[in-house]
Structure formats: structure tokens, C-alpha cells
Subunit: 478 residues, 4 copies
């Protein structure tokens, strides 16, 4: 019954006329699938009439042909992919959320995490409100709805709601006649929009989804900005812009986002390659080949290789067919499991001094497993390089980091970690190099609280117990 | 977005200890399946922790073995079967409804229809409430939740809510520690409870479900009664008892309920046989055999046969395997469809003068179809007898009668109807004989507004347009 | 790896032109569903090109809308429903079987059981044949194929194959250009054909399927007859007719067939009513009401009531929603299970002297259970009447009777059985009355080996062990 | 009804004792999934009793948890993944095939394509054989079965069958007590075996599957070799070894096999990198970055980069979530489709002179699509390099190459192809460089008939029409 901490992806479409917006949203969700694999949904707005489908599963599982075809044509749509589920029925927590209120109905898709949702929830319940879900999204729906009672328009209600809701959110709201996008004042989570050749507008968490929906990137929403797409026009409400410093999540670049996306003007792939380059300078080593851990370590490995002059190689084959429904082996064959997912290429590894680049270490157990495979394959030396600093603190803005007690860096020195994983040397990216990832020289414009413990906002009051309930399992990261 | 008019079934279990209440509810829902085939659900309460599953489909479709086994053991449970769905996503309207409020969480299962839900909804929305569904159940949840802010207990909140909600409802409410059953002041919809050998209590819409859950019938709830099952004890709150005349729905006896149920002291099967007997007296005819239209016409046919002395025969075989997913034929084979569902037995029909008994006529088209089959099979004469009076008025209490414009009796004289259906004679049960069905001599204690236009309560203010949107399709009745 | 003993249903369609024969077969299979609920299939012949779908499950489970619509139009079709499965993969044993041979391809649907399939199988294997299934159908396919090497036509090959295959079979064979129906020389299993208004021909196990496919019954196939439907014409090959005495399975009338079917000129419902009448004469008793055990005991009960003058009543409600996927309760609620399936109507039973009519007793356990329910419901006396003689012998012709060691009549006297079931009196239909069921006075024209041990053919050589592996579970009969 | 040309993967397990061989096979099939995505299956041998499951779909679709768990433990297993399906029911063509014959039963999994299956089929049909499938596997089953009538053992029967069946095959056969692997005399398709730490033996198409099943690679089977695994021992029958020259399929290295596999002593990844190196020497160009087309062009691109000194870059992101069930857009959004599957990274492409490396060109349409994306993303120059020679001829050994009329190289000059695809320059790997891929200097030891028209065996007699029915759709290759 406590709040969730989720990574998600959102999108919205405002077409110039009635068309197959469900298919368009479907393609956009495919491009955002890496941001959330637990559930997904699409709401179509056909001139005020909402139709929707959402369920637990990947986009291709939830949207079979009959389901997708059962959604009507429309002039607007909202879509969502979601990372984590909790409690009894994951299905009730699927998004987008659709609610009815006194001025009509509304669909909401939300990425992020509020820091004051418990207080808001309690306040609302004290006035007799009922909650069907444990989502922040339902809290946001209520706040917008209450503002709507007095506000002259839905966009104004959204804007006023931003005075009340605190924390990280990139939000897409659809009323019967308008599509509204909003980004929190710190701009923790990405949100951008683009234009299609047919004049339609498209909003999405990442630029790769704009492209998948056939749109040309226009620009990122500014922190605090509310954009209204209606009647073929765009309008920006900037009342909250500039009220707080920009704090883009640095981990979006390191791990979350897709390499072909460009977030707040910075290419994700370039950020990763730069992290690799910096690693090469900070932790040089003599070696024969640089390999990355698929998929998120590959770009940093290429950066390391370029900067160090050591040849880049493909050292692991990742099995592309293993998905959500993969059945883990019983005790009898447990030892074989890693190899099914990630198999080293002997010819690359045998007798070689390896630099292995990965994006992060959580508990250390996954790292140990792939390192073991390299030793078995005959590696001469293994030097592990991590393209981010050590995780030391919880995230309250929508990233599910494991609890401190499980984070290897909270309980071990660097040397202990190196021994635990079993490598010849271990090097993390220094905190001071983080600005370099996004082409900056000063430490500003991004949130790195998980590394530094410097939080840009107030933090949740009831963070104790519940922090430990929701966490990324390390297994999902490899 | 308007309210629904639904027939449903509800049940609740309060076990003396942690046990497999989900299985028990599953068996109970099988016994109530005839009251609603569109969706169903079970909520298990394991010492305050709710787990649930609900979906569109029959009980055996929604509750596959893995799903049923995924529900934990518990000490309480609530179950629901639902008749009709509306709009975009039937799934969101499935019951029981589970909501969180300031004092905890609550599950509700509801059978009936409020007459003031539109007003209540508007009132709530004006205070900033949001609605996820178009169910009366969500309105009731809100009213109870608001009363709960001031009431000393959940049962008291339910009791106070009964001052606000008007119309027909048989309600089962589950809080983390209590099971509460409530029946509206007129007692439109049935609700009874029983005791299991292990000391557990069981609430259900019909006695047949008590038996399926291994319980001995204890008694019907009185109109206006609230019963609280908690800690192995039963308590009755009778504040609303006697504040309005009893108005049991007469159509429960004629069509809805299962023949082995006993509602408010009257056997459903006996009521139907009495209707048949009375028909024999009111509309006698010389004939060779009396046959019933399966399944709901069979008991009345037996009653007619007994009273008239004409032999009872089985004239139709109903295909038991045709269900929700049956694929209706294209135009090419349309004419064969009725025969697949209902095939006359030639040896019984050929050359015979038949009395055919059915429970009601809605549009007349279904009646015409089975009568045609009898003529094709060589019937010498067909005399149709209907064990209820003609439908002339809408029901606001949870029965989905077709709109007046489609009711054959609203637009045709008896003679026109007879010709339209194509029978030698046609006889309805006179309104004055309705008391006889439930063993009374005076016209009191039941609601027959659909026949008489005498409504026991206020009627909905916005009854116009929306009346025509939700209706029983006649095809579902055969 | 031993042969199966199965009850099945078959059908075939020869349309005058390309039309939606898959839908037609689908409706026919619904009408035959009572003959086999384990698997089903349809093969469509579109001018020589075969398309098919078959799987484990009921017709409405196997043929979802997309599956049915994926079958093309055609001018012929064959369909099958199957009772029992065995061994690893039930799916591979689904019918119709489709095979390729030197002269083209062929689809076969078969109902019955050969008595020499083991010998034939061994012979074929000694020549290098391979078998994919454990079906008699595959043996028949081979025999026809081998005859086809020399025979001038497929129908001649079928006719010649009948010299080799021994036992019970009603067979529908489809070649690229012909539909062929064949019935064994004793005519154990029913098979008939009819004509549609469009001139198409339809073959089926029972007349009720002809009607469901919109056809008028033409006549039963004679024992030993082969019929060829091709190019809008019918041709009969009577080479094997009259070579053996007719031996229609009497149990088709007592239990298998649908009451609205007419098999070899005798109405199934009438046969059952006659059995009831005869029972009333043989085992009269003073009682208040006669009730039948649904569904197959109902007609005999009506016959008993008519002949005895004791009123007929409906004493049990059978739950129509319990199907293949019903989840039996754990030990905790085992005692409630029967009541979920079959609930007595208290008002009919309480304080009454009952005559209860059922079609047969296998192990006696099912009988005991429903009798217990009657006692619990307050019956004053229970007199059980069985509309068939006691089962004493195995069936080799396609009926899965339990092994002798489990048959209550093999191991108990009448009095012991009466006590075991717990009734005041027990009466079986005498063997001598069996002719009366089908309107005969002499004991001829039907097979009653399961009662009499008089087998019309040789019996299988390896009957020992395998007899006990395949049996009807009594639970499926109620 | 003609033969199939399929790429497939096979595996077999002979465990030292009864264990969970189904899970082991499941992991092995995941490692072979790239060899066939249309269907898959596992047969478990539990001391002579076979249980199996096979169906259309990916391994994770066909083997859900309940299905996998329904397979018993055993001491042997055979598994199969299959590429292509044909005709009415793909399901009946799924492998492994399980058949019964006079000496027991047998399971077969087969990769390859016979060149004389039509003749063998006809011969067998003339003797009265029936065929359930259109698989070569069924033909092979028959041939082995017939040999088994006279041969003293199943392995001897397999060996003798090799005198009759001609063409490409890597075969795994399981009898009740033995696991047998056989490779055709030319060794077209790969097959190897390994040993597990528990002493069990494992056979598979590729070494990556050995590793996934926890086995250490032992060695490849020699062309013509038959290996028998039984009672913890291995035995080799070498009667056919050396009777024909080795002709490993060169396209296994270029495209089919997984980069971490080592086939006949040559690392697949190294072969691809060498192809890239050679391309750099044969078709050098001045450029800024070398990118590969995922996934099979990546290694060759890395080889090109290394040999040329031009930096290697990641130019495309391939969407990992698009699978079999992906719903292609209607006409409205067709233009967006490629981008959903394969999105260029603007920062890498914009303003750059690109060398783009892919493994092959079939029709040219796919190549044109990804090249167009690069132009749209702002590429300054695009130089396409193909790591194989042009396809000019059909393959009769199990590779589904498109028909000649669709092969761009059959109908266009190099210059025409370059213009059609729209690149600045186009270079194929010269035929003379093929030996270099597998570390040879002379043109021997492999089959390259698809490039050279030099077939190592007789070719099928009825190659005309049917060649055009079964082909790889180019869309599946990107």
C-alpha cells in the first residue's frame, strides 16, 4: 500500500484528423519498450469518446492483432509502458489511467515519482476520496480534478496542480478535446515533442519514439513547461519554467535511455562513449582487447577502446530470445543459466588481457557471474571498468535502485569489491567526471543524488521501510 | 457514461479460520452463474491483506487453475458474477470493486440498481471526486467512504449510507476485519445467509449458492437489514427495517432465479409450477401434450400439465455446449441457427396438438422462431402459454428489460401478437394471478412494476435516452 | 501403445458448390459434441486442396473465431469429435486424420473400434510401416491405401478394405474429389445421411447433426453399405450388405445418443421412455413422485411416471456451467462437490417417497452420492430404478466400459448393491425387455454383449491387460 | 505437397541417469533459436517411454511453464527448432517426429534437405506407405524403419539408410535405449558433441548449444560419421566417412550460425571478421566511420574497420522487442516501419562518409530501405560492402534462398544494383576470397554452390516449379 518507484515511458499523439492513432501509438510504445516491460496501454480519443486497452505484458503480448484492431480510429491517443508492479493485482495499476470527473473524462500517462504523494493521498482520503490503485498517477488525477473545479480549462488545471505535486514527473494528459504534456520544474525525466509530415503532433519520453511514430524532433519540453496540443495548434504555458534549476537524471544517459535518443540536447550514445573515454584516462591499463557487457556497456567500451588505442572486440553474445517468460532452471542446472543468456566468445577471450566495460554495479553478483565466464573461457587478465560512480543512495525520482543494504558499494571498499567480483583491477568513473558525459565542465544541470546524496528537492517523509520493498532486481539489468 | 441496469449475483464468506475461501467462493459463483455471465471476480481477505482476480468471462474461463491457485488462503472472501457490460473496457467494470480509503481498504459486491445514482455521482464530482467506472458500485463506495469519516465503524457507515442511496441493492462489503451484508429497504433483490459445519458464515444472492458452499440456509436478510459477520459472530442492524414495504422482484421467481432456490420463503420451482397451474385454469385448451421451452419454461409446463391433465412431454433438446464464444453463422446458414441451439423432437411433435409454455415474451422474434420449428416438425396445433403477464414498462431495479419500442406487448394487441408469432392461441398469466405464485391472495409484498407501471420508489430523473442503451437482447434468453 | 476404445462422432459434407462448409461442419460438431468432448477437428476440401484444424478441447474451445475463419471455403468437409485420449500427446491422436498416399491425399474420420487392429498393425509394421498414432484410424488408412494401389477407385478401395478390417466402424473418408461413408457389416455404430435444400449431401453419426446442418434426413446407411457422394450424385455400394446380422449398439439408445435423434428408425427419446415404462411394470412401487437423474435419466423417468401413474417431478438441478476445466476442490471441501454439480430441490424431495430413475450403474459410487443428497434433503423413501440391465462384460466395439473388477454388478449381488448405494429398493431393466426399447419383441438386431456376454464377432486376442487401461470414469457420466 | 527447404537446429541429450533432460533441452533450444523460429519441440525418453510437446512458435511461446513441467524426467531427449512451414497445418510438420515401428518407437530431429526425397517418397508410396507430413524427416523415418527390419540394431539401420538418402542432413535419432547422431557424407550442415561434468553426452547443431547445456565441446562429427550414445558410452561408426569430400556450407559462417559458435574448427565470428578484412582490401574507400547492419553485419564491419584503420561505430539501433507477432502497419504508416525496427543514430551518421557492411543482398529492397534511412539522417557518403559474393543459384541443401527471378544479382549488373540501392559504391566479397574465411588458401572443403553453381551432389529432378514456393522472405533477415 506504499508508493511505487517506477521507470516508465509515455507518449501522446494529436493528429490533424481522424486516423489510425492506435497503430501509431503501438509503434511508439515499441520504441519505448526498454523503459518498462511489465505492462502497457493505449487510450484512443475518437472525438471525445475514449477507448482503451491496457494489461500486464510486453507491447507485443498485450496488443495482439485482434486487440489492436478493436481500438477505433481517433484524433488523439495516449500510451504508456511501465516498469514495475506491486501487490495483488498488477493489472489495476496499468496505465494510462482513465477517469471521469465533473467536467468530463481524462486519460493520464505518467513517468516519475512524487516525493509528497503520501501526504497528498492522506489529505484526499481525509476528504472522503477513494483510491483504486497505489499509483502516483491516481493522486495526480485527483489534484488535477480538484483544480479543474475552479480552473477555466484543463491545461490551467494541470498548471495549477504543479504547485501541489512535488518531485519528478513527465506527464501526458488527454481530455476529450486536448492533449497536454507537462514536465516537472526540475526536468528530472525526459519529455520531448515532434511534428509529423501530416501536421500531427507527437509527444514522447525519448526522441527514438518520435522517429518510430514518423515525426521530426521539434524540441524538448523545458523543465516546468506545460504544452497544449489542440485544434492543430501548440501552445506553451511557462508559468513554472525557471522556478527551479534543471536536474536531468544522469542515469538516463548511463543506463535507461536508448542510445539513438537525444535527451535535452545530448546524444545518449555520445554520453556513453564519453564515459568510456574518461574511464580510459582515469583507469588506464595494458590490455589486448576492450569488450563491453551487452547491451548498455557496449558504447562505453567503444569509447574506452578509442581513447586507449586498445582494439575493440565483441566478447559476449547475448541471447536475444530470452524474455519475461523464460523459465529459470531448477537447482540441477542453475550453474548453466548465465551462459544461456550471455556466452563469451572463446576466440576473443582465450589468453587475452581484457578490459571489460559495464555501466554499473548493483549487488556485484551479476558482475561476478560474467567475470567467471571470462575466466572459464581462458582470459589471461580481467580489468573491470564501470562507466558510472558507485551507487550509494536511494533515488526518489522514479529510479528503482536497490536498498542500501544490498548495494555492494555501501558495504565494501573498492578493494573488497574487486576481490569479491574476482578481477585484476576495478575502476569506477569518478563523480567529478559526470559533467563531461553531457558536455559540461561544471557540476550543474543534472541530478546525481544516487551517487552524491545531494537531493534537489525535499525527500519523502516515510522513506524508511517502504524503500526496501521496491527495487530493481539485478537480474533484469543484464 | 450513464448508469447500468444489471442483473448480478453476490456472495460473501466469513470463515472461522484461515482456509481456502477462494475455492469456496469459486463453487458459490458456479451456483450463481445463471445470474450473470459477462464477468466475475473473487477478493480474498487474508487477515487484512486483500488479493483478487476479476475479468470478463464465465467463472470457468476467468478462474483457470493457475489463477485460482494464485489466490492465497484467507479468512474472508467476496465474490460476484455480472450480467452486462458497457462502453470501452468491460474489464474496468468487473466486480467486486476494491478501493482504498482513509480507514483502510474495502471490497464491495453489489446486485441491483440505484434510482438516484446520477444525482449522487454529480454531487460527488462537484466535490472533486473521480470515477474509474460507470458502476453504481463505485457511487456506493464513495457514499460509504464519506460516512466512514464520521461513523464509528464500517457497519455503521454502511447503515448510514442507506439513508442516501435509493433503489434496489443487495450488497456485500468486506473490510479488513468484517464482512457486512445489506439489503435495501424494499428488499427488491434476494439475499440470504447460512452456516457451515465448521462454523463459518456464508452470504449469497440465492440459497443454491449456500448449498454449493456447503452451508445450511439460516434465513433471508430482511428488507433494510444490515448484518455483520466478524470474529465468528453475527450481528444484525435493523435501523432501516420496516421503513418501507417489502417489494421482492416477482421476476426473480418467473425467470432469474434457479429453480432449486428458495427466495424469501418461496420455492422458485413451486412458484413456476403454480404459474403453470394458473395458466391452465385461465387459458385451458384441448391438446395432446404440454411441452416447455428450455430451461425456464419447463417447470411452468409441468404445472400446466398437472393442472390440465394433459400429458407432459419433452419437446425440445437444448444444446448444452453452446456458450458465449459460439460463432453465429454468416447469412448463408442463418436459417439453421435456431435448430443448433434448440431442436424439436419430431416423435413428440408430429401430428400433435401442443401446449407450449414459456416464461415471457420480449420482442416476439425468439418465440416466433421456436414456434416455426414446431410447425416444421409437423405440429397439428400450437397453443402458446406465457407464465407471466405482458411486459409493458421499464425496470429501474436491476432488470434489463428491452425498451418499450421493442416490447411486442407495447405495440401490438394480443391478437396481433398471436398472429405475429403464428400460433393457434396465445395466453398470458393475468396480473391478478401474480400473488398466487408466491402463495398469497392479495397483491402485496412484491414488485411487478414492469407489468403494472406501479413503482415502489421514486424513478430516475434522466430515464429518457439512456433507457434504450442497455437492454437484454432476446437472444440471450433462449 | 495399445488400441483405444472410444466413443466418437463423425460427419461429412458434400456441397453442390464452393461454400462455407467449415461453418456447416462446426454446427454439426456442436450437435455431436455429446459423443466426444476430448478433441475435435474439421478438414475442408477446396477443390482438392485440404486445409484443417484439430486440437484437444470442446468445439467452442478448438474453433475460436480466428481459427474457424482461417479455414477456407470448399466443396467438401469432414468433421470429428472424440471421446478419449491416451499417452503422451493427445494432440497427435486428434481426428480427422489426413494422410498422403500414392494416389493423392485422404482425410478419415472414424467412430468405433476394430477387433483385429493389433494384428493388422503388426502385419503392416512387418512390412516397414511407421505409425504416428495409436488410433485404429491410422490402421484403416493403411489398409485403404494398400487396396488403393490395385483398386480402380477410392470407393472400391474402401469397399475392399472392409474385407480386412473387423469390428465396429462408421467411417467418413474424403478424397480430393469424393466423399465416402461406410458402415461396418454389423452396423454397430449409427450413420445416416440427409439432403440440404441447396442439393448438398450431409453424412453424420446422428440425425440431430443433420438437422443442425440444415439437412433433411434421408435414411440410415445399411450395415455393410458404402456410399459415395461425388459431383452432386449419390451412389451405394452394397457388396457387404447382408453379409452379417444387424447389431446396432443398444447402449446408443440407453445413454450415448441425443434424445432428439432417430437411429435406425427408432427415436432415442421413445426408446428411453419405453425403458421407463417397462421398469414401471417390472419394478412397481408405491411412491409420491418420480424423478430422473439429469440428463440421461429424465426420459426414462417420464416413461416410468406415465406407466405407473405416479406424478413426474423435477428433483435435481444440474449446473450447466461446469465443464472440462472445472477445478475439483481440495480435501477441505470435497464433500460439497456433488452438490455443486447436482443439487436436489428440497420442496420436491422433503418427506416424499421417491422413485429415482437413472440409465445405468457403473461403480455405484456416483449413484451413492446423489442418493445421499436425497436423504439429506429429507426424502422419506428412495427407490432406484435403472433403465438398463447390469453391466457385466467389456465392450470391444467402441464403448469404454470400466474393467470388470470395478463394475459393481460383477462383484456384488443385487441386494449388496442396494445396500451399498443405500436405497429402499433397486430394480434394473431385465435383459429380456431390451427388444421392447426398439419396438421389437424378439431378441435380435442389436448388440447387448456388455449385458449378455454374447459377442457378434471375434474378440481381440490381446484383451487382457489393455482392457484395464482405458475406461470411462464414472464421474464423466453425471 | 512438395518438399521443404529449411534451415533448422537439432540437439540430443544422453544423461547418465534419470534427470531433468527437458529443461536441459529447453536451454539448448534457446541457444539454437536463431536457426529456426517457426516451430520447436522436445521429446523426452524416460526409460523407453516417450513424452513430447511440439508446436508452432518460439521456444518461449511453445514451452510455457506448465507445458515444460508436464514433461517428465528422463535419461534422454531430442530437440528441434524449425525455420519454415508450409501448407494447411504447420503444426503437423513440427519436429522432432515420433513414430512407432515394428521394433519399437523412434524420435527424429533433422536439419538439412535431401536431394532425392521425391523419388524416395514415390517409391514408398508405391508400396502403400502413407505420409502425414511433407517433411524429409518422415521419408528418412521410413528408410530407417525399412532397414531396421533386417539390420541387427538401430544404429546399423541408420548407417544403412545413409546409402539411400542423398543430400544434406544432420540427424539425431532416439530409440528407447540409444541416442544416435549422424552427419551426411559431405558434412553440409554442422553437428558436434560434448560432455557434461556429470558424464552425460550432448549433441547439437552448434557449439553454443553445447555450452548452454553445460557441456564441454568434444569434437565435430566427421562427414559420414554415425555416433551412438548408450549406457554412458560413445561409439563411432565410420563406414561412410571419407566416401565424399567435405562440403561444409559456407553460408553457415556468413549468416546462419551464431558468432560464438565454432564450426568444424573455425570460429564463426573470426570468419566474419576475416570477410570484413578481405572486403577492406578488395574494396577500400576513404571514409569517416565503418558501421555494420545488425546483427549479422557487425562482425564483418569490425573486421573492415580493423583492416582499413577507419574507426568502427555503432550506426543503427535494432529494436529487440519486435518479434513474430509484430503487427505491420496499414498503408497509412508503412513508411515508418523500417525505422521502428532499425533506427540510425544521427550523431554517428550526420555529415559522415560511411562504410556500411552487411552480410548479403537478396532482393535489394531491404538494403535500399536502410540506406535511405542513412541518407535521411544526413550521411555525406554511403559505401556498401557485402561480406559474401552475389547470390546467383538455388540451394538444395537446406538453405532457403529466394528464387532466381527475385535475386537482384541474377537480373542486374553491379552498377544497376548500386544505383537501385542508391549508394556511392558497392562491393561484394569476391568468390576467390571465400577460402580465406575459414583459414584456407585453396578453394576446397566447403559448399558455395549458391555463388558458384558448382553442386557437390546430384540435384533434385523436380526442381522447377516448387523452387519458387519456398523462399526466405528478405524481411526476416533484418
Amino acid at each position: 500500500m506504499s508508493q511505487l518507484h517506477e521507470e516508465c515511458g509515455v507518449l501522446g499523439i494529436a493528429a490533424p484528423w481522424r486516423t489510425d492513432v492506435a497503430h501509431l501509438a503501438y509503434y511508439g510504445l515499441f520504441a519505448l519498450q526498454h523503459r518498462g516491460q511489465e505492462s502497457c496501454g493505449i487510450v484512443v480519443n475518437d472525438d471525445g469518446l475514449f477507448s482503451y486497452h491496457k494489461d500486464v505484458g510486453l507491447v507485443n503480448e498485450v496488443f495482439s492483432r485482434p486487440v489492436l484492431e478493436s481500438l477505433p480510429q481517433g484524433n488523439m491517443a495516449v500510451g504508456h509502458v511501465r516498469y514495475s508492479t506491486t501487490g495483488g493485482s498488477g493489472r489495476s495499476n496499468c496505465q494510462p489511467m482513465v477517469v471521469n470527473h465533473i467536467k468530463g473524462h481524462m486519460a493520464l500517462a505518467h513517468n516519475g515519482n512524487l516525493v509528497n504523494s503520501s501526504e497528498l493521498r492522506r489529505e484526499l482520503e481525509l476528504q472522503g476520496s477513494i483510491f483504486h490503485t497505489t499509483n502516483d498517477t491516481e493522486v495526480i488525477s485527483y489534484v488535477i480534478t480538484r483544480e479543474r473545479l475552479r480552473a477555466p480549462s484543463i491545461e490551467e488545471a494541470v498548471s495549477r496542480a504543479m504547485d501541489t505535486i512535488k518531485g519528478a514527473y513527465s506527464l501526458v494528459v488527454m481530455s476529450p478535446s486536448k492533449l497536454i504534456a507537462a514536465r516537472d520544474v526540475n526536468g528530472f525525466r525526459p519529455l520531448c515533442y515532434g511534428v509529423r509530415a501530416d501536421g500531427g503532433y507527437v509527444v514522447a519520453s525519448e526522441t527514438c519514439a518520435l522517429e518510430a511514430m514518423g515525426a521530426r524532433f521539434e524540441r524538448d519540453l523545458d523543465p516546468g513547461e506545460v504544452m497544449v496540443f489542440s485544434g492543430g495548434e501548440v501552445r506553451s504555458i511557462r508559468d513554472h519554467c525557471g522556478t527551479a534549476p534543471r536536474r536531468t537524471c544522469i542515469f538516463e544517459y548511463i543506463y535507461f535511455a536508448r542510445p539513438d535518443s537525444v535527451l535535452d540536447g545530448v546524444s545518449v550514445q555520445e554520453a556513453r562513449m564519453r564515459a568510456g573515454e574518461r574511464l580510459a584516462q582515469r583507469h588506464p591499463v595494458e590490455a589486448d582487447v576492450v569488450i563491453g557487457v551487452p547491451d548498455s556497456g557496449l558504447d562505453a567500451a567503444l569509447g574506452y577502446a578509442r581513447a586507449s588505442g586498445i582494439p575493440y572486440g565483441v566478447g559476449f553474445i547475448k541471447n536475444r530470445y530470452i524474455g519475461r517468460t523464460f523459465i529459470a532452471p531448477g537447482q540441477a542446472f542453475r550453474e548453466d543459466l548465465v551462459r544461456i543468456k550471455l556466452n563469451p566468445i572463446s576466440n576473443v577471450v582465450r589468453g587475452k588481457r581484457l578490459v571489460v566495460v559495464d555501466d554499473s554495479i548493483v549487488r556485484g553478483t551479476t558482475s561476478k557471474r560474467f567475470v567467471d565466464l571470462l575466466w572459464e573461457a581462458g582470459a589471461a587478465e580481467v580489468h573491470l571498468r564501470i562507466s558510472s560512480p558507485p551507487f550509494l543512495n536511494p533515488c526518489y525520482y522514479g529510479t528503482d535502485i536497490d536498498s542500501r543494504e544490498n548495494l555492494v558499494a555501501c558495504n565494501h571498499t573498492l578493494e573488497e569489491t574487486r576481490q569479491l567480483i574476482g578481477v585484476d583491477s576495478l575502476g569506477y568513473l569518478p563523480i567529478d567526471d559526470l559533467p563531461y558525459l553531457i558536455g559540461q565542465t561544471v557540476h550543474d544541470g543534472f541530478c546525481d543524488a544516487c551517487f552524491t546524496n545531494v537531493y534537489p528537492t525535499e525527500t519523502p517523509k516515510d522513506q524508511g521501510k517502504s524503500r526496501f520493498e521496491y527495487k530493481i532486481s539485478e537480474r533484469n539489468r543484464t
